[in-house]
């Protein structure tokens, strides 16, 4: 055993990343990162959001070139010019957003662009089906090769992607959060297949947030933090301990990123109360996480931080309260009155606001001016009984918010597209302030906002709570949650897994609650 391990150590690694950096317009996304992957091993790539994992994946998959550094794959210099070139070189990346074509069959998807041809250049369907059956059997799929991909579950589609990667003779398969949309049975099936592929000599890079999965399956781990290498962990005789991973992921530097406001808001009465909230899977949004009995209380004048990883159900919780997604069971009360908003319009009418996570697609009107973007949720307030806009009042209000939130803009007519992310976010916050909401839910308040403006946005949120608004802040950045919240709840797989006052919270505690399976050891 030791001899084998020693021999493996001696053989050159399959993939070697040496001192790779990536700079974007003044931002250093990846700073001097080195790692290696050996044949027949599973390497875990871990790190918080923004640690640089996605940037590294983009470089390895050929989507972006590194700014500096060297990559060696299978003994040769590896500089893919495109994702296609990366595939041809033998590295296939499987993203959360699967790349299969839903209307085509499993066989067509596996052989897309390289269908076996028979006489006269006609597709040899029999051979294609036969080979497909063999290929998908390797990943434990026993389905008809003619099944359209749209009829498969997410887990099955993932296996089809892996099968396609195998049939391309990939030597390294990179899997980006493959388990986040799977049920637990599906996860164990996937992990079993990964183990089996490892035994066949395939190298796998496993990017995940799920620490126990990583711990269970990975031979080694590379942890990134703030764009730098935080360290490597090796599996000894037993799985890599989770607390070691958390320590590496969190470090110390991260918590010093934001100053925590010293003055905490005094919470008032309960404004919004959610009990037993459940949702069901929507066929139109199969990737959405199903809420499984969520209870939370939101008090006037406090900021409730909701910490959860991507796929924990935090965004779905916000959307359900806001009437954007259908609620299957449970109650929501606002100031003691039961409410059941059937649409965002209803929720807004009741005094709830939502700053959505995806600013570009869900919040801003890129081709419209700042003025139109500002007042869109409060058109009634800035118009008269005849429906005519009272543009004078509207402009005065915008000017006030411009000052109060220090929005840096040239004129109300300026296109919102020309503003920086931070200033766009301030305009969206002003949009809701114009309605004077009772409850404001802010999903990822500083995504795409530069570091300087982040602190400003945090300050605004604290001020809003001080005005008596019940603020709920959803974020995957723990330092942010710690910086703004008065109270913090953690979510995982559609459930609340913990709650604590912010003063008692640490990144380690929160990370453990967000990333670990709480039901292990529970008696049910």
């Amino acid at each position: 055993m030791a001899a084998v391990a020693a021999a493996e150590q001696l053989a050159p690694p399959l993939l070697e990343v040496v001192g790779v950096s990536k700079h974007f317009a003044g931002v250093i996304a990846l700073n001097d990162v080195s790692l290696d992957v050996r044949r027949g091993e599973i390497l875990g790539l871990l790190g918080e959001n923004g640690a640089g994992k996605s940037t590294l994946l983009k470089i390895l998959s050929g989507a972006q070139p590194p700014t500096s550094g060297r990559i060696v794959f299978d003994g040769a210099e590896y500089r893919p010019q495109s994702p296609d070139a990366a595939k041809r070189a033998g590295i296939v990346t499987i993203y959360q957003e699967l790349s299969l074509i839903p209307t085509l069959s499993v066989a067509e998807n596996i052989f897309i662009g390289r269908a076996p041809l028979g006489a006269f250049g006609i597709i040899d369907w029999r051979r294609m089906r036969r080979e497909t059956t063999g290929i998908i059997a390797r990943v434990g799929l026993g389905i008809d090769p003619d099944t359209p991909v749209s009829a498969l579950s997410v887990a099955e589609q993932q296996l089809v992607e892996i099968a396609r990667a195998l049939s391309l003779e990939s030597r390294l398969i990179i899997m980006d959060e493959p388990t986040s949309a799977l049920t637990e049975t599906e996860v164990s099936q996937l992990l079993r297949i990964m183990t089996q592929l490892r035994a066949e000599g395939v190298a796998i890079m496993f990017v995940t947030h799920r620490l126990e999965e990583a711990s269970a399956i990975c031979d080694r781990m590379t942890v990134l933090r703030d764009g730098r290498l935080a360290g490597h962990l090796n599996r000894e005789d037993k799985p890599i301990p989770i607390h070691e991973i958390i320590e590496k992921m969190v470090g110390r530097a991260a918590s010093e990123l934001y100053a925590r406001p010293t003055q905490r808001n005094a919470a008032g009465a309960v404004r919004l109360s959610v009990r037993g909230l459940r949702t069901v899977r929507d066929p139109e949004a199969p990737h959405a996480i199903v809420l499984d009995g969520v209870d939370i209380d939101l008090k006037a004048g406090e900021i409730l931080g909701v910490a959860g990883l991507v796929g924990s159900g935090r965004t779905e919780l916000a959307r359900a309260i806001f009437g954007a997604d259908r609620i299957a069971a449970g109650t929501v009360t606002l100031d003691g009155q039961p409410i059941a908003p059937a649409s965002p319009a209803d929720a807004i009418e009741l005094g709830i606001g939502l700053v959505p996570e995806d600013r570009k697609h869900q919040a801003i009107f890129a081709m419209l001016g700042i003025l139109q973007n500002f007042s869109v949720a409060a058109l009634r307030a800035y118009s008269n009984g005849l429906g005519l806009m009272a543009e004078g009042r509207e402009r005065v209000a915008l000017a006030e918010y411009k000052k109060a939130l220090s929005i840096r803009m040239a004129s109300p007519e300026q296109s919102i597209d020309g503003l920086s992310g931070g200033n766009q976010q301030k305009v969206i916050l002003a949009r809701w302030l114009a309605r004077d909401p009772k409850v404001l839910i802010v999903d990822e308040p500083t995504r795409g906002v530069d570091v300087g403006a982040k602190a400003e946005v945090h300050q605004i949120l604290v001020q809003l709570a001080a005005r008596g608004i019940a603020v709920m802040v959803i974020s995957s950045e723990l330092p942010e949650v710690l910086a703004v919240s008065d109270r913090i709840v953690t979510m995982r797989q559609g459930r609340i897994t913990g709650e604590m006052p912010a003063v008692e919270a640490t990144e380690e505690k929160l990370m453990a609650l967000m990333a670990l399976d709480q039901r292990q050891g529970e008696t049910r």
């Binding site: 806001f322 954007a324 649409s343 965002p344 319009a345 929720a347 807004i348 009418e349 939502l354 959505p356 697609h361 869900q362 919040a363 801003i364 009107f365 890129a366 081709m367 419209l368 139109q372 007042s375 869109v376 949720a377 058109l379 009634r380 118009s383 429906g387 005519l388 806009m389 543009e391 840096r408 803009m409 040239a410 004129s411 300026q414 020309g418 503003l419 920086s420 931070g422 200033n423 949009r431 530069d450 570091v451 300087g452 403006a453 602190a455 400003e456």
Partner: protein, 338 residues
């Protein structure tokens, strides 16, 4: 804290800014200058009013189409709907399909011009509303729903009229098509008033803001509390209303409602809106642009005719202009961004 300063708007007139805003208008003026240079009588008031009268029918529909395209929708049914509304107006005006070939007003059995007008705009609005419901409730794309409408309304027209025209309206109705107020033809006045109203609605009302928002980003509009489906239905009602109004004016002008009226109008109408700078992807555009777009097509048709260019060639030129106008618009936008 970083002190990010936003790129301040350029002070003073910006050549590209002006071109971007007034591109189609400048193009229109250039055409007028060219045609006048070729034949000075082109600019005679008689010919100018002639052009304006020619564009007023499709122009009215283009006003409604502007609302639809602003929401990133399309309505291909307007030509057929115009024929159907015209036929309904004729039936109401004449009190039935009898005497359909008589060019006289037909013995006072009809219900008069007002009832005819009301019938045309109500039928148009209802037809538009039904298509809007199909688009929002059944989630069928506007292109498909209104493509269906194009066939359905033509079929309804032929059924109602047995394929033939209904002709002969009384003088009070004909006035809306052929009358003059001073030197100005009545259809031109109707078009001008309607255009002004549409401009005011889009520019200065809550509803107008909502139309731009829904067209600019439907999901963001929904999450901002706008009732997106209602707004979508309303724009199809508006374009249907204008198809009805245009049908009434056209019937009044021709003293006849033809079952084959309005064939191909949808293309002229959409061209006018698009040449006028309204984006087919929604959220960008204006009534002023549409008026200029309609005028541009009218000037081109009339000017080419004036210079004895065959109608076959006219079609080619108008098609080319459509493409050039949109390409020019895109080019300006890419320039002004960089």
């Amino acid at each position: 804290m970083t002190t990010t300063t936003e790129p301040a708007e350029k002070k003073g007139p910006n050549t590209f800014g002006i071109l971007k805003r007034f591109g189609p208008l400048l193009f229109l003026l250039a055409l007028v200058v060219v045609f006048t240079a070729l034949k000075p009588s082109f600019i005679d008031p008689i010919n100018v009013f002639n052009i304006l009268r020619q564009i007023s029918i499709t122009g009215l529909i283009a006003l409604g189409m502007t609302f639809v395209i602003l929401t990133a929708g399309i309505d291909l049914s307007v030509g057929s709907l115009l024929a159907f509304c015209g036929m309904v107006a004729a039936v109401v005006a004449k009190g039935g399909t009898a005497n359909s070939m008589s060019l006289s007003a037909g013995g006072g059995q009809g219900f008069g011009w007002f009832a005819a007008l009301l019938a045309a705009v109500i039928v148009g609005s209802v037809a538009g509303g039904v298509q809007g419901l199909a688009i929002t409730r059944l989630k069928v794309p506007p292109f498909v729903v209104t493509l269906g409408g194009l066939t359905i309304f033509r079929g309804l027209t032929l059924t109602l009229s047995n394929g033939g025209p209904i002709s002969g309206f009384d003088a009070s109705m004909r006035w809306f098509g052929t009358g003059l107020v001073g030197p100005v033809p009545v259809p031109v006045i109707i078009f001008a008033v309607a255009a002004l109203l549409c401009h005011l609605v889009l520019r200065y009302t809550r509803y107008g803001r909502a139309v731009y928002a829904v067209g600019g980003n439907a999901e963001a509009a929904r999450l901002s509390g706008l009732r997106v489906d209602r707004i979508l239905i309303s724009v199809y009602i508006i374009v249907g209303f204008f198809a009805g109004l245009a049908a009434f004016v056209l019937s009044a002008r021709l003293n006849s409602s033809e079952a084959v009226a309005g064939i191909g109008y949808e293309l002229t109408v959409i061209s006018a809106v698009v040449i006028g700078g309204t984006s087919l992807f929604g959220g960008i555009g204006s009534v002023g642009g549409t008026v200029v777009g309609a005028a541009l097509i009218g000037v081109l048709q009339n000017g080419l005719q004036f210079n004895n260019v065959s109608s076959y060639t006219q079609s080619i030129v108008i098609g080319l202009i459509l493409i050039v106008a949109v390409a020019f618009d895109r080019w300006l936008k890419s320039r002004s961004r960089s």
